[in-house]
């Protein structure tokens, strides 16, 4: 239907072809920028807020509570090392095309416990 707009394009180059290019590139950048801002600022803000209110409840000075932004962990470096190791040693993960950062240490999490859920009904 709206290919009508480009009817003459095959011959010279309809200005709308350029429109698609300009709008297209802009929108791709815009979309990923929106995602960037959302995760860089809005989500971090929300998660920090939760962390702080949690700290407050526990009687910890919120200022001392680590913000989500700055959490740095040895775990991740371990994970990278692991990933590289696997990558160059061709373990199954790489062969099968799974690209993962493996958490080397698995901690207990209440989320993963059905028992927790069941006993407290």
């Amino acid at each position: 239907m709206h290919t009508l707009l480009l009817a003459g394009a095959a011959a010279g180059l309809d200005p709308l072809a350029w429109t698609i290019v300009v709008v297209g590139i802009s929108i791709v950048f815009l979309s990923l920028l929106v995602v960037y801002f959302f995760f860089r600022y809005i989500l971090t803000y929300i998660l920090n807020f939760k962390l702080k209110s949690f700290a407050r409840k526990k009687g910890i000075d919120p200022a001392e509570a680590q913000t989500a932004r700055t959490i740095q962990s040895g775990e991740v470096n371990a994970a990278i090392a692991m990933a590289l190791y696997q990558y160059f040693n061709e373990l199954h993960d790489v062969e099968s095309g799974v690209i993962t950062i493996k958490r080397v240490s698995r901690n207990y999490s209440p989320w993963s416990s059905k028992l927790y859920n069941m006993n407290n009904l």
Partner: protein, 450 residues
């Protein structure tokens, strides 16, 4: 060694092209001439004539059988394509270039180019374009764009977005590389392709096989009509083959461009290690990624919706078995089907055309431009970034996607400059962002040209 490989490949490509010019073109013209002069012309050839009952017994039977063999119906086009199929299989096995795709596609090319008796439009229900054949049923998933979203589901279920979450600005590199799509679009228009065809061809620059197949099944499927009433061409085959060929050749195409555009100092930049990512963030990323990107470009929903759906299955932690199936059996089955049928769709008589050559040329340009855009944009970002937080432009190439090959190229090139500077994890960010970026670009093409 690396050089020898490059030469091998170039030699193979040159041989193929020459062979084509030498054999296929004339054959093709001859066939065309025949078609135009009508069925009478072909009657002059020695062929099976069901009405001719004068001969009797064994000899007649043998003649009839002979009419059906591949030896009777083969053309040089078939042989060229079989050679191409063998090259695909060779590259996949010898150099492990995207073997999960090139082996099925290569075998598919062999299967699609077994010469089949089809004089007088007879349908033996064998070929991929013959209604009622098994290949035709399986091809349905390509033609209707059903397979690509299922592949995206599986990719979502195996992708870890951690590096993007920990360093979201890498998303922009994934955006930059999509410039290749739009410039190729202009190029295709200039070469005379109709707008929908040009849009589909442009997506080759996105370096995503499933996206390319999906878009060409929507825009250049041989069924849609242009404004002037002529149908668009069916370019699914050439576009898919071009996209997968160049994706396989990413380790050959990208390094020279990357070295050309960066100086030694830039190649030595060390990036900050990514921060830890919480489980909550990993769950929220696909959910909000889905909502944000699809609100902006709803036409990308079949691809991005499935990609993020798969990732939710993976990250939710409570649907492990579904994620496991999505990234193993399901994606494998679809992979087998899509590779086989895309390969078989290259039947010589529909594939060996001028358009296919142009599409391959445009595709090469698209990959080069996309790589260039990614690297240059990384350098541009560095102008604005503070010292100590700069981006190594060697990860810019990863924005084209071609997961995970282009990220591997970043790693390898980075190691060449500094043996202790691992770029793989950083390159994963633009790499997956490139998948999202080209799906959005595909959505834009669809909403303008669909």
């Amino acid at each position: 060694m690396a050089k020898r490989k490059t030469w091998t490949i170039l030699a193979l490509l040159v041989i193929t092209s020459l062979a084509w010019l030498a054999f296929v073109k004339p054959e093709h013209d001859r066939q065309k001439a025949q078609t135009e002069t009508g069925i009478e012309a072909s009657a002059a050839l020695p062929q099976y004539q069901p009405d001719n009952q004068t001969e009797e017994g064994f000899l007649a039977g043998l003649r009839q059988f002979w009419a059906f063999t591949g030896f009777r119906n083969v053309t040089s086009g078939h042989l060229i394509m079989i050679l191409v199929g063998l090259i695909f299989i060779y590259l996949a096995i010898r150099y492990e270039y995207e073997p999960l795709l090139l082996v099925p596609i290569g075998t598919g090319i062999l299967i699609g180019n077994i010469p089949i008796f089809s004089d007088g439009g007879m349908n033996l229900q064998v070929g991929i374009y013959q209604q009622g054949s098994v290949l035709n049923y399986l091809y349905f998933g390509v033609l209707k764009g059903v397979y690509p979203p299922l592949i995206f589901l599986g990719i979502g279920a195996m992708t870890d977005f951690s590096s993007l979450i920990s360093n979201p600005r890498l998303l922009l590199l994934g955006a930059a590389a999509q410039v290749g799509i739009f410039i190729t679009f202009i190029g295709a228009l200039l070469l005379g392709f109709a707008p929908p065809e040009a849009g589909a061809i442009g997506i080759i620059g996105g370096a995503d096989g499933p996206t390319a197949i999906f878009i060409s099944s929507r825009l250049a499927n041989g069924m849609n009509l242009l404004a002037d009433g002529t149908p668009v061409k069916n370019l699914i085959g050439p576009i898919a083959i071009a996209a997968y060929s160049y994706m396989a050749l990413v380790p050959v195409i990208q390094p020279p461009i990357m070295r050309l555009l960066t100086n030694r100092k830039e190649r030595l930049i060390r990036m900050k290690p990514p921060r830890a990512v919480t489980k909550t963030e990993k769950i929220l990323f696909p959910i909000f990624g889905l909502l944000l990107t699809c609100f902006i470009s709803p036409s990308a929903l079949p691809l991005l919706g499935m990609l993020f759906f798969g990732n939710i299955l993976k990250e939710s932690g409570v649907t492990k078995r579904l994620a496991e199936t999505a990234r193993t059996s399901l994606i494998d089955i679809v992979n087998i089907m899509i590779g086989l049928t895309v390969g078989a769709s290259t039947q010589a008589d529909v594939f060996l055309t001028k358009e296919s050559i142009l599409i391959f040329a445009l595709g090469a340009a698209a990959f080069a431009i996309a790589t260039t855009a990614g690297v240059l944009f990384a350098k541009t970002m560095n102008i604005f970034l503070p010292e100590g937080d700069k981006i190594n432009p060697l990860i810019g190439n990863s924005g084209v996607s071609a997961v995970p090959d282009s990220a591997r190229v970043s790693e390898v090139e980075g190691l060449k400059a500094d043996k202790t500077n691992h770029l793989l994890m950083h390159a994963m960010g633009p790499n997956v962002a490139g998948v999202i970026g080209s799906a959005i670009a595909a959505g834009i093409m669809l909403s303008y040209l669909g």
